[in-house]
């Protein structure tokens, strides 16, 4: 009776993808990877339930015992909860009995246990099945106990799947796999340094928004890693020199390719200052577009290193953003092959002055679903999703800066996009 039903399903599911990867180059990506249903199922199992670290909440969300948030790891609903000794537990939000959600809100606080509303099975803060309503049956009018679970039923074997958790700079990540390396090794020392550079003290959440996007989740992750597009698509970035490829900066790629950090340094351009004008790049509106109230761009050097813009990703689906003093984490939640949610959490620090708070509120205009910059990232993924509707056997060209995935001291490169595919193919077995 104690067959693990999830293992049974795994055996029955076909493992072979319907498509094959076209060739060995990291600089070519087949379009079926954004559309194929079987490939999506394989991602759910091999990537999100595999040896990857998935962002589940910020520690500031769950400061006290019993505080919890619900979230998703890929397609899997999870509960992340602060345990009695301050530890953070994460487990699948699926009752071991009939599979109902154990918690069906965004978060809150429970005393000592979660109770499924369907049949009142209960779980402790570590996700262990602790209580079964009428486990030993119930007395009938004749005083005889009937019903209940079999005597040999072993609760231990029917708890929801538990995830290991780790914290880093106030972020909480979770993984189902025992094989996932420590997160410091997983993202590598270069990217780790960039993450700690921003997350150097306690944070406070300033706002949350969800941006459903009409595209495969990987198109958004690629967009985040694509330093080449930023100043070409986003007029706002280019015109106001928030980031241009002519400014100092570069891209750091983790050893496995999957995580990255790109950055722009706040130093004036050199002899290349007219490059955008020379190439008649649309986004260079310098002199033709001016802000009536430039206070939206009033920023102060906050981290002491002249880096005015940094975008960082942790494979497969987490993004940390610093644009001037505008800080946010973004979580990519897949919703099937052709839909995703982008979950924004704007944050500042506990010790922000009122002036810094106001500065962050103003700069938040740059990002999110209505962001002067970010709104365009919301629609380009959909343009690719629609543009490739009949191109399953075609490939995209990801060859700026060569065909390898190492760190580079320029952002006119797609190295970190190739890095994503390097890690993706390894996890997926392609």
């Amino acid at each position: 009776m104690d067959i693990r039903h999830d293992e049974t399903i795994r055996e029955l599911r076909p493992q072979a993808p319907q498509h094959v990867w076209p060739d060995d180059s990291l600089a070519r990506v087949p379009y079926w990877v954004y559309r194929d249903e079987a490939n999506y199922q394989r991602e759910v199992e091999r990537l999100f339930c595999g040896a990857t670290w998935n962002f589940v909440c910020v520690e500031a969300d769950i400061p006290n015992k019993g505080d919890y948030r619900t979230n998703h790891v890929g397609a899997m609903p999870v509960i992340v909860v602060r345990g009695p000794d301050g530890e953070i537990n994460c487990f699948e939000n699926r009752c071991a009995h009939r599979g109902a959600l154990i918690a069906f809100d965004d978060g809150g606080n429970v005393q000592n246990n979660f109770k499924c509303i369907y049949h009142a099975w209960s779980y402790d803060l570590a996700g262990n099945l602790r209580g079964i309503a009428f486990e030993h049956g119930i007395n009938g009018p004749d005083g005889v106990m009937r019903g209940g679970m079999p005597k040999d039923f072993s609760r231990d074997q029917f708890s929801p799947r538990k995830l290991r958790t780790t914290t880093l700079g106030g972020l909480v990540f979770a993984t189902l796999s025992p094989d996932t390396p420590p997160i410091e090794d997983y993202i590598g020392s270069d990217v780790l340094g960039r993450l700690k550079r921003v997350l150097n003290r306690p944070i406070r959440v300033m706002g949350r928004f969800v941006q459903p996007l009409p595209n495969n989740w990987k198109l958004y992750v690629e967009n985040v890693k694509d330093t080449y597009h930023a100043s070409l698509l986003h007029t706002f970035l280019t015109t106001f020199r928030i980031t241009r490829l002519t400014q100092g900066g570069g891209v750091l790629v983790s050893p496995d390719g999957g995580s990255h950090s790109s950055y722009t340094i706040a130093i004036p351009e050199g002899t290349n200052a007219t490059a955008y004008k020379d190439q008649q790049i649309r986004t260079d509106q310098d002199g033709r577009f001016a802000l009536a109230d430039p206070s939206v761009l009033d920023s102060v050097e906050e981290f002491g290193d002249h880096i005015q813009l940094q975008i960082l990703s942790v494979f497969p689906s987490f993004v940390l953003q610093q644009i001037y003093n505008c800080l946010a984490v973004r979580q990519v939640v897949p919703r099937g092959p052709d839909k995703m949610d982008l979950v924004w959490t704007y944050f500042g620090f506990d010790d922000d002055t009122p002036e810094m708070n106001r500065r962050r509120l103003k700069q938040q205009n740059l990002v999110g679903p209505a962001g002067f910059v970010s709104m365009e990232d919301g629609c380009v993924g959909g343009f690719v999703q629609r543009g490739t509707a009949a191109a399953d056997d075609k490939v995209s060209v990801v060859e700026m800066g060569g065909s390898t995935a190492e760190s580079q001291a320029t952002r006119a490169t797609e190295a970190s996009v190739r890095g994503f595919w390097k890690a993706y193919r390894r996890h997926m077995g392609y």
Partner: protein, 154 residues
């Protein structure tokens, strides 16, 4: 405050947006002002951040010039259905008003969807010429999900 005048202010607000006379929109605010788009959830949790946050008329004008000249998005427009304003209080000539809204977004391909519903939480007072203007308009959306992008102000 005369509810009929508040209704007229809201009607003008909806009309300039839905008719794409966006340049008229900032003129309905005092300067300085507060225009913020947020969600009921953020308000309930005391989170101050906004999807859009403008505290001067200049910032509102920048939203429009960016919409017109800078941002890239697919053709779309809104249809506002604005409910009746409820005056919650008045002090020093400023009325605190709450008005429900529903916005349908019409995409260039003809698709129509309920894009946002919520409540305008306003502070309204007459400008120097006596016309009612928004000192504050906080757009509190009922849901937290904003499909693809919010280009046009709500």
């Amino acid at each position: 405050m005369d509810v009929a005048r508040l209704v007229e202010l809201n009607a003008t607000y909806a009309r300039v947006i839905d008719n794409e006379q966006f340049e008229e929109w900032p003129k309905l605010f005092l300067d300085p002002c507060l225009y913020k788009v947020t969600t009921a959830e953020n308000v309930a949790r005391g989170l101050e951040g906004g999807l859009i946050y403008a505290d001067t008329r200049g910032m509102l004008e920048d939203r429009i010039s960016s919409l017109r000249k800078v941002n890239i998005y697919e053709g779309q427009r809104y249809r506002h259905i604005v409910g009746l304003p409820m005056v919650l209080g008045q002090a020093n000539g400023t009325a605190e008003v709450e008005t429900p809204f529903l916005i349908v977004r019409i995409m260039r391909d003809g698709a129509m969807d309920v894009f946002a519903t919520g409540c305008y939480r306003d502070k309204v007072k007459p400008d120097s010429a006596g016309a009612l203007r928004f000192e504050e308009r906080v757009v509190v959306c009922d849901g937290r999900r904003f499909d693809t992008l919010v280009a046009i102000p709500l």
